[in-house]
Amino acid sequence: MRVTFTVNGRSAEADDVWEGESLLYVLRERVGLPGSKNACEQGECGSCTVYLDDVPVCSCLVAAGQVQDRQVRTVEGLADGDRLDPVQACFIKAGAVQCGFCTPGLLVQAHDLIERNPEPSDPEIREALAGNLCRCTGYEKILDAVREAAAIKAGIA
């Protein structure tokens, strides 16, 4: 089947999509957006997190046909051209990226948290990121990055 949707502000068309295929597969293999990662395909790791109509979801659990005519925003759509979003810049600065596999999902999820809650407490950050697994960093640097990004967006830092 053919699936037409908007991704990162542009219209995308994927052909020969298998009806049981996930949005994650369509993004990575059919429309050239491999930023979202496939690490579990069962909703456990969060590395495939994207916005679907402004709500973060695991793209591995969205059927391709369900995004017809809808809006998707992936990690590739967070930066404004070459200007990184503060969340991205802070991940780099804090050293919150090691192998980087978890990073795209964490960036989208953290981006959403800060949009909804400009001054998140530590427990709120932990709860928001509870569905994103990282096997490398031990999370401390990730928390540092999210705190700093929130402060920048709130105009405090």
Binding site: S22, C60, V62, A63, G65, A130, G131
Partner: protein
Amino acid sequence: MDFLRPATWAEALTARAERPDAVPIAGGTDVMVELNFDRRRPGALLDLNRIPALRQWTRDPDGTIRLGASVPYARIIDELRTDLPGLAMASRTVGSPQIRNRGGVGGNLGAASPAGDTHPVLVATDAVIEVESAERGVRAIPATEFYLGVKRNAMAADELIKAVLLAPAKGPQQFSKIGTRNAMVIAVCSFAVALDVAARKVGAGIGSAAPTPRRPFEAELFAADALPWDSRADLDPRIATRFGELVAAAAAPIDDVRGTAAYRRHALSVMGRRTLTWAWREHQSSQSCQSSKELT
């Protein structure tokens, strides 16, 4: 495989009747895992995401809340925590934020996993599941009769779940779940309790400790009789303990990878005792607020 995309509820019911090989998909948080791992190859997917009514909740004239089958957990938590505190608490323990943004009660009921987190609340609060078919129309099934066995429910092959009907809380409600961490865990076992203060009744539900969720009737009757409704006195710990024992006695747990039957029984007695104590304290404090208001 086909991808069916009905735009209205009537179209969805027709498609459901015409395509018995189609699997309904709402949030996809159960269905897509099965597809991704080749555990299921249905003839078609029946996408329910385009039917606005399933994503809405409304209030009937008598106050009953009609919760559309695919209202995601995140919205139940945000919008219904005052009316449906037990369901909101259970929703908060489901998966992760991303899962709660997609999954909903209709999918929990459709999957009918013994470990589904909303089941104990639905049986404890006398929820009613509204299912519909194109041929026979609407059927209202009490939650206590909806679950038939492990991953089996009372829905016929041509029916879809439309809504869950729930009364706004008639008193404090509590939910408790045992798992290895605070997020992303399948319940080892779970428990819900709901007080109906005016009627002096106690509803309870046990999850993940039998093939289907269970109501511990003996425990409910014992607590309804033993709680100091008149004096609003502190709860005698012996009452809470006995309640917990009766809850545990009503379960039929098994040993599995998540825990032993003996552990589950023990955990249920603790959860029963604690949740009843929390609910009673909440009742006491809401009562004392009311009486101080009356005095001023």
